[in-house]
Symmetry: D3
Subunit: 274 residues, 6 copies
Amino acid sequence: MTVRHLALLPRGTVRALAAEDAVAVVPIGAVEQHGDHLPLGTDFLVVEAVLDRALEQLDDDDTTWVRLPTMTFGHSPHHLFTAAVSLRPSTLSDVLADVLSSLSQTGFRRIVIVNGHGGNDELVRLAVKAHALHTEGTAAACSYWTLSAETTADAAAAERPERTPGHAGWFETSLMLAAHPELVADDRPFQPSDPPPLFDRSPAPGLTVERYGEWPRVGGLTDDPAEATAATGRLLLGRRVAGLVAALRGLDQATTSAPGDRLPSTDRERGPHA
Amino acid sequence: MTVRHLALLPRGTVRALAAEDAVAVVPIGAVEQHGDHLPLGTDFLVVEAVLDRALEQLDDDDTTWVRLPTMTFGHSPHHLFTAAVSLRPSTLSDVLADVLSSLSQTGFRRIVIVNGHGGNDELVRLAVKAHALHTEGTAAACSYWTLSAETTADAAAAERPERTPGHAGWFETSLMLAAHPELVADDRPFQPSDPPPLFDRSPAPGLTVERYGEWPRVGGLTDDPAEATAATGRLLLGRRVAGLVAALRGLDQATTSAPGDRLPSTDRERGPHA
Amino acid sequence: MTVRHLALLPRGTVRALAAEDAVAVVPIGAVEQHGDHLPLGTDFLVVEAVLDRALEQLDDDDTTWVRLPTMTFGHSPHHLFTAAVSLRPSTLSDVLADVLSSLSQTGFRRIVIVNGHGGNDELVRLAVKAHALHTEGTAAACSYWTLSAETTADAAAAERPERTPGHAGWFETSLMLAAHPELVADDRPFQPSDPPPLFDRSPAPGLTVERYGEWPRVGGLTDDPAEATAATGRLLLGRRVAGLVAALRGLDQATTSAPGDRLPSTDRERGPHA
Amino acid sequence: MTVRHLALLPRGTVRALAAEDAVAVVPIGAVEQHGDHLPLGTDFLVVEAVLDRALEQLDDDDTTWVRLPTMTFGHSPHHLFTAAVSLRPSTLSDVLADVLSSLSQTGFRRIVIVNGHGGNDELVRLAVKAHALHTEGTAAACSYWTLSAETTADAAAAERPERTPGHAGWFETSLMLAAHPELVADDRPFQPSDPPPLFDRSPAPGLTVERYGEWPRVGGLTDDPAEATAATGRLLLGRRVAGLVAALRGLDQATTSAPGDRLPSTDRERGPHA
Amino acid sequence: MTVRHLALLPRGTVRALAAEDAVAVVPIGAVEQHGDHLPLGTDFLVVEAVLDRALEQLDDDDTTWVRLPTMTFGHSPHHLFTAAVSLRPSTLSDVLADVLSSLSQTGFRRIVIVNGHGGNDELVRLAVKAHALHTEGTAAACSYWTLSAETTADAAAAERPERTPGHAGWFETSLMLAAHPELVADDRPFQPSDPPPLFDRSPAPGLTVERYGEWPRVGGLTDDPAEATAATGRLLLGRRVAGLVAALRGLDQATTSAPGDRLPSTDRERGPHA
Amino acid sequence: MTVRHLALLPRGTVRALAAEDAVAVVPIGAVEQHGDHLPLGTDFLVVEAVLDRALEQLDDDDTTWVRLPTMTFGHSPHHLFTAAVSLRPSTLSDVLADVLSSLSQTGFRRIVIVNGHGGNDELVRLAVKAHALHTEGTAAACSYWTLSAETTADAAAAERPERTPGHAGWFETSLMLAAHPELVADDRPFQPSDPPPLFDRSPAPGLTVERYGEWPRVGGLTDDPAEATAATGRLLLGRRVAGLVAALRGLDQATTSAPGDRLPSTDRERGPHA
């Protein structure tokens, strides 16, 4: 078996796997309001759904993936106006630094954070950058919704990038209907805001705009969850799973100890290095 | 049903329960080496075993208990010499402060932390003290192994206070054999240290003694797990569950909104207030 | 005149402008190695070139833009292996929080950070999010290279997204040849790395990958600056200036006190709100 | 003479003593309200009384004890509602870390903190744990009221564990009548609270319960000081002095350089190592 | 009596004095090497000598001075190469902020820090500035050696400003011979350094110059203590006591509640307000 | 040429200069209200005027001076009542530590901070002390107004030490009239406060006194700017330039690698080393 749960293994096994270049996988989500129809745990439930399906598909390759327990709490101060369990940015940065440092001390030289919550995105990327400055090995991070790969034409056609991921709307509700239908309320009223939330509809691409009181003003949702369906959710989920599988395989190949095996790099993804 | 999982509920339900004086319950454990026979997650697995059994017994009373997802990572720097995922003391303090603050902002007026790891003990107690200084309501904390109540004469007779909790020895191994036997290795070799670990066998009651390098010197265990049995584990577990039930009921009654119903206080427990 | 320099104005004028809903504009760059052909100040010099050209174009509208002195130092720890003046992430976060808070206390209700350095990107976005949680008004942030608008067909055709922004390569060298040709060395040798830098060529879109020692390994450049020309630089610069003008106008219109004037929102830009 | 005051010695003597394995002794108390009959300095005055008597009894053995000036300020935020000089938990943690680090840099390999205030208890224990993780030698900590040893049958009979230490009640008032009678007011009115303070009378053993506003509600005292007498105080003091003498001797013997001399360990005291 | 010791008073008296506009006086020193002839506690012993003599002289006026226990530890990292108990700058800043905040919460509206150690000078001045920004009342700070007033012509003639205060040399040794002769060693060898210590002999007035390793290089003393005498020490001490008396009287009069009584200000002292 | 601008140089040149023992020069000012007649940037504009004139005069010697971009923001919380961009003390300390550390990592062994704002004075001195404790080389700091040297008898005669530097009064206004007359308003009304500001007119030399609300009470100026003239400003500026030239030359000679060349030390300047 190539997928293992770190917390269920004794120390000797963990250190042996790390010494054999296993990849430690750290899922992180959030606990925060997702409207009246989705549970507070939506973000960690979805990232677990994506990750665990991806790890199943990776179970037949030569690499061992050591999955950590999900970090359920994330950075959600903008949802405390109703209901959330939120870490401050500095707290979450410290947690991530400690987790990465612990894994390195335990012997891991390859670590990837798989994120399920928008409010964590900058922080997980900063965390791996800071870690790799001073620690041997490779640290990586991604947010599941930015990853998608070819699955079927239907799946590609189902995408609505302008509503992805949004918050508690079409995208997330579809995913939850696919992954945890029993936790989704049937009744999903939505009152569109006018103007729509600035944080979600920026007046210009690339411009982050944050206005005081915007989340309460729009009621905590970005778009209408009414059109969400389980069938759509399965298509969307499939593409993210495929995307994560590709990302994890790519990471594995790019950082394996035998550098000759590396995949050709792609020009599609460029970090901000100005 | 009176036991609910916070992460599986939508925001409206959570706020309504908080407004009805439900008690938020925050389990915390650790991920750290427990010898070659127990998994890294032992501390959170055991505290979950104790807590979930206790909540089942509380399921028939009038109070609603809102259980949070378990905080799996704790303060375990002394185990990083082999394998652990450890938060620094300042990090864990910040996490606990943020969680308590979030729960208060979400409306909870009664919160209790149930701890499964010795290295967290001081920090969870400090956290509830700091929180209650400036926030309305009541915050409480306990470590499961200090709680025990009358169950059966057999259970009481099974206790070996000098090995409780210890680390990865008789007590914890017994509990794991009762709660998660599939995760316990059959082979449990133990080499007693001479002298025994100072942190575990203080030269005087009440004196904390920490010597550099002591955990590696003794191999990471405090006492021999060989005598541990599932039967003993069930007795020990039963007493902690009963103790936690009593503690949670006591907390509930002492802090319920109708103060006339309070139980007589006991002289058995006194905090340090010199 | 509608563009003013905060540091050159007396207090009364500053407070009056803030009261009239002027927008405070905070440029930030970096001081870090840019190969042997570009100066350490490249990032702040370029963001100043973009911003000051954009402000000239905005000089005829009804809104007053109050430009702050450029924050020259940014978050550049990955360049300390040769030469940089770098702030730690926590330091820069504190600086940004203090600047935003100061501007709010001075009366500004609209603030935008214009960033010229990739290493600052996450931090400036986090800063405006944190600020707007607790402070009246709107705070915005952007990185200049992500902004581009229609200028000419030639300009659009000149783009090479796979080398934008990169570090000290085609894109930045072109911009510096357009803005500060006297600071660019004629001799620009480049030795491609094999494999190319992981941080720049991720094995998967959306995956941040950081490997220890990668910047020194590749010599501090991402791509060959040899093909850079002043003519290309002028085209690229023109598109970023136009993009920033559009972004600033969009911000102005979306947050002006008379909400009826707001531009229709666009679906093109969505923040991460999963 | 084997008891020395660090602050009264020149540097050469201090370093020579440290090199000869002297034990540095760090007393810490608090400055906080103790009702209308005891002075604010009660906690440091009592711990000094216990410690200096203990050091007198240790003056004839082979070990040198190097006493530091008393740290008079402790962690007393719960007393700021009337009168206190209190350090925040993070401040006191930093102070303790700095003091321990300084002593190690000055050459000491054995350090013990002797605490006189309940609010410091967790913090001094955390401090020695953190210090010993990374620094050669041994660091220890105790709170004087938890230490008691056989003195006379009368002394043992005088104990009232349910009122020890309490705050400004029977126990502390008795000790002050023995150690500093001139600082104790004759008039000691007490109004029992109903219900008694939750922090002092927990509904369950081992459960820390903190309720907002509890200290002001009960007037800052835990129990009636009226029955306190100087004679009782002398008995109580004698037992704590004997307990501290035993603890310090035990520490000395357990950590002396010649390990063959170590005392048999005791099973009576076990730290929390779950 | 108008001089009172805060730690020896019960809460009611402390709050009453604060309400009557008493001035809280906070002495702070250091514990650090002072050569082979002076004890580590020299700085706090001297500041106590100055302060307590000054308070005796103030004992007949209408103002009550409430003296706190001396803060013995200061900021002395430059002396850890031999022997010191030093707080980091951030730790000492936090301690001072906590002490000032506690005194304000306890009711004091006038507080003065009297400092005996050069390494604390900037930090105590920063502390009172920060405190007074947000807290009603007045906070003041001084270092005893900068204060001197007319005493006798002999005393004035005895001054050697170029050796004041220095470290463990003529000035401090003279003061200790006057205040604590039993703690001063007869043998006081001194080896002048060439060049003399840069931190003590700056190449230009007003320029602080710090060179790595300078304190160990010069052996921890700034100038020859051989010429120090008790008679000189008494003269020097007398002038500082007189200076502190004048400073405290000046502070009292400038901040007393009846503003009409204020002394004319002097042009002699100007803070840096560029 | 011996004066170079760090931000305009490529990495190779910077490292080569550092290796040749060039001195890095870090100017710092502030952005804060200076009455209704001077711009917010007065402090950084003046320190730049002093520094750049001084560097011109140093342009003919053997030492290379590498000037950094000016740090425009300083520690100005006392001016936020009207208009300022202020860093908290801890933020500025972190910035200074990062800048010093970066310069050392980039190869500089000699660094000097030249300060133009009173509120930064303690912090820049603390920063160089902290840096030099653990880093090879020399770090120095000064505030320009404390430096003056012989220029002409007229210049010396023009000094009014009791108004130097003050805030936005005679001294600063004169300097701005000399350096940036176009930024000084003709109309300069002043209403003297009674009593004058305590922070500026201490009741005793050497005593820092800070009273809540004092800056707003006196309107943000310390003394009347009416008498300021450009001619006086030129004289004052000339003396500060000469003083800074002397200080930089002195620093250079005292810390050059050939120690035999050192200037005789002076007794005029003594740091506080009690």
